[in-house]
Amino acid sequence: MLGQPVQRSEDPRLLTGNGRYLDDLGQTAYAAAFLRSPHAHARLRSVDVTDALGVEGLIAIYTHEDLEGRAAEPLPMLIPHPSLSHGRTPHALASDEVNHVGEAIVMVVASDRYVAEDVVQRIVVEYEFQTPVVGVESARAAESLVHDDVPGNVAAHLLQETGDVDAAIDAAPHRLSLELSIERSASTPLEGKGVLARWDPDDRSLLVHTSTQTSTSVRQAIAAKLELPVDRVEVVTPDVGGGFGVKIVHPWPEEIMVPWAAIRLGHPVKWVEDRREHFISSAHERAQLHEVRVGFDDDGRLQGLSVRFWHDNGAYTPYGVIVPIITSTQLLGPYKPGPYRVEFWSLYTNTVLVTPYRGAGRPQGCFVMERTLDAIADELGMDRSVVRENNFIQPEEMPYDHGLLFQDGRPLIYDSGDFPATLAKLRKLVGWDDFEAYREQARTEGRTVGIGMGCYVEGTGVGPYEGGHLRVETDGTVVVSTGLTSQGQGHQTMLAQLVSDELGVPFDRIRVTTGDTRRFKYAVGTFASRTAVMSGNAVALTARKVRAKALRIAAQALEVDPDDLEIVAGMVRVKGAPAAEIDLGAVAVLSNPLRYAFDEAAARATQFVTPVDPDLPPVAAGEEPGLEGTAYYSPPRSTFANGMHAVVVETDPETAEISVLRYCVVHDCGTVINPMILEGQIHGGVAQGVGGALYERMVYDSSGQLLNASFMDFLMPYVTEVPRIEIDHLETPSPLNPLGVKGAGEAGVIPGSAAIAAAIEDAEGFRISAMPISPSELFDLRRGAAEGRVPWLRRRSAPAPGPGSSSTGDGS
């Protein structure tokens, strides 16, 4: 089934209204709501609940004062890093200050959410305002501080360098400097966060359901914070309505407070985030400001590259500096940069925290590199695709070591990829070489069109590991589990396809569970495009293990050599003599010698019924009962997928409206398990890329208020804003894992802003250095270009000077 577009086993229940998302569970639980700071930066003076106490249906009100021990301490710093000299994390409930609009201060538990919100409204908090810091420039200028003990608002400063960059740039035949920026967006899954906790006082155990991307880590965090033994805490990820990165952060304050309250109240408690809460109290990403200095030769080959950037990490840094580290390293794309220096400052602002959103820093890096290459091409009067070609790492240079450290703490080494082949396919798909003729035709029709491309490389399948467990039941059902989680990626289907192939059982006999610590306890989580690589390989290895055991046991029963056996459609049989066969369910029975029969299958395994060798124990040394096995996959390092996108846009000469006429993708993620699911992932990523380039931006005012905390004003694209997506594939299998797979989850979004900016620039003829871009902003840029404030490309002549406009407008 590898490589087959198998229809998803998840679908029937999701389509018929039988999904089990967080809010579908715990119908009798108490409801929680939170009083969240309406101010971006303030000290808390007092909390007065007097007016709230009389509300019928109120169960409890909690503040930080009610917390004790570890629960009262700040939430964990998930990913420490040597450069993170001034990391800060929030408390589960704010103790004496708040640092962004939306920070949780008071927890209310009530009979239902309506009542809980009534109570929240009646609580009066007294604040002492502090000056909020909003935006990268403000944070950098540091006239005010977010945290009093963090000088310059700098959470982290990291420099990575290979070679003598300044000398290389100065010695190069040509040089350019660029300033580039990208604004905040966010994952914005259709389902927000949610937590349901049940405490069993008899068993003294806690069961938590949470809409997360990592059950196993949430479990550890809850156990640590609530000071419970880990084996008394289980965490289950239900059906999740999308994650896209925002649900990898943990523990959210609510993931601590809801279980804490459930224990205290001796009653299940549930919290379901509403849309406004999601905007102001989950996480955003993407805002960075870059300064680039690059040296290059007459063929556009990079001689040296220096990048400095300032990253807005919001009010706290629970996820460390992963995002800017990824930007730093993935900026290099499929290219050889020559000597390279990347230096970043991760800055605090009084805004929502910044943690990975699909792409996780790669879109910014890709934007910077691709804009730089386009600028080089323009400077030299070269075709933009040829400049890229000239800089590619060639297939014969793989594995290619950049001499830097990647986000997994391991060397940044590209293992495989054929960038020239990917580019050739893209040129053909979009008709790159025929575009000038198309542009001319459009011009005669009074239409303005442009083409752009963006290339990226993605390090996928980061470790440390994932595992799989598989058990064949006595009725022939195959039960599989892995510890990471699912948010719609079709993991259950994909993993069942692998098991079907490896074990030789029909697809619909396989049941897969993900994200349930009761079923699988060692895992990392779902993020960074790692599931197919990590759990895919782990489950495949597990299936191979169990297959080997099945053959051993069956060989004994059939009195043949295991090498003479094969498993087809769940039957173990002798190759070439299919009449001699035993079904896997029966093998499962044989694998577990029993004393007591509780059903017919079991009866066949009891001690007086099965054949016995009196000199051997029923369970041989080194064996375990049951037709099951566990295996792990732990990669030496990330495996590198790549892709290239090309975009054709049209801009309206009068209204500056921007339409994407064509969106072409060529994509290489190695061995493809389910091409239908893969394409779906690309489609979704591209839609987010288009959204991020043309529509989505978090708008904060100077007092730290998020002005567009709703779907009315935060513009996620509908179908009418997403172009038709054309896809071609390449497969360079990964040499790093048994299946040869690479990750694909984030690919679609990475080059969106780069390619679209390039296409708009190509249409308009002047530099586009900041994204996203709206028609209103394009209108402003047009005037800026006409007035000489925005640089024209060399390859487009500026319009003839008119009254009041500057003379030629070329160069900067």
């Binding site: 919100e117 009534d118 529509y695 002005l707 709703s710 804003e721 028609p775």
Partner: protein, 293 residues
């Protein structure tokens, strides 16, 4: 995001409704389509103690098409108006415009009169009411009155209704014979509130001369902006319209502002461009030219 508590009233006649409204006065709000009101309640930007649901009052859901006027009752849904062929024949501008209101699902519940009463500066129907010299029929326990469009829109989200009053119908005047109309708008996403929208009605005589022209604009002022272009355009050949002066005149009448989606300058550009485009489309849509609207 759940609404604050309220007491719910479900009158079955207009008299009952007026009686309740008189009693609850400023503590009450009328619930018609709810597409604008309910989000405000859920976000707790409004918390009326009483909600008066007029959806169950008979006789308010009719569309009456006469020779001079199309009259709609208070519970006529946008979708109903959109699909009403007789209304579309009498006043094409109605169907032309309603298709721009949000999305079909919203139009199934939202009421056209509710939209007018809501008086959103970005609402399309207030501009249509103004363009067509419409009026709103209002009743209260104390009696009834008719409010002309020119007097109806007091400010952003503020109509001339006072507490205790219920708008029961709106009338749109049928444009003179020989008129063509069009609605154009630019929004960030399909179905979003317009960054700027322009409705145009142009009247042309049998000699192809323009005898009347007016435009109504949205999102460029505290309410709909009505600009009479008859003087600027009278006598022009309808098939060779010169619209630049009309656009310039319109720019002097609007009050565009910056917001997070667009700058004031950009809105002004849209106002000019859409005015020109709407005028040209309106003449193309006039009877006799019979270009599909």
């Amino acid at each position: 995001m759940k609404p604050s508590p309220f007491a719910y009233h479900r009158p079955h006649t207009v008299e009952e409704a007026l009686s309740v409204l008189a009693e609850v006065s400023a503590d009450g709000k009328v619930l018609a389509g709810g597409q604008s009101l309910v989000p405000l309640l859920s976000m707790r930007l409004a918390a009326p103690a009483h909600l008066v649901d007029i959806n169950h009052i008979g006789g308010l859901d009719s569309i009456d098409v006469g020779n001079d006027v199309v009259r709609i009752g208070a519970t006529v849904r946008h979708a109903q108006l959109e699909h009403h062929d007789a209304a579309a024949r009498a006043i094409p501008l109605l169907r032309q415009t309603v298709t721009y209101i949000a999305h079909p699902t919203i139009r199934n519940r939202g009421t056209s009169l509710g939209s007018i009463v809501h008086a959103d500066p970005s609402g399309e129907l207030p501009a249509v009411l103004a363009l067509l010299d419409g009026e709103v029929e209002v009743m209260s326990e104390g009696g009834g009155r008719r409010i002309a469009a020119a007097d109806f829109f007091v400010g952003p989200l503020e109509s001339a209704l006072v507490p205790g009053e219920l708008a029961v119908a709106a009338s749109f005047r049928v444009p003179p014979p020989g008129s063509g109309s069009a609605w154009m708008e630019v929004a960030r996403r399909h179905g979003d509130y317009a960054l700027c929208g322009v409705g145009a009605v142009v009247t042309v005589d049998d000699d192809r001369r323009v005898t009347g022209a007016r435009v109504g604009l949205i999102s460029v002022g505290p309410g709909p902006v009505l600009v009479d272009l008859a003087d600027a355009m009278a006598g022009q050949d309808a098939d060779e319209l010169a619209v630049a002066d009309a656009a310039a005149l319109v720019l002097t009448r609007i009050d565009a502002e910056d917001d997070i989606h667009a700058s004031a300058d950009y809105r002004r550009r849209l106002a000019a461009v859409l005015t020109e485009r709407a005028l040209r489309a309106a003449v193309r849509h006039r009877p006799g030219r019979a270009e599909a609207a």
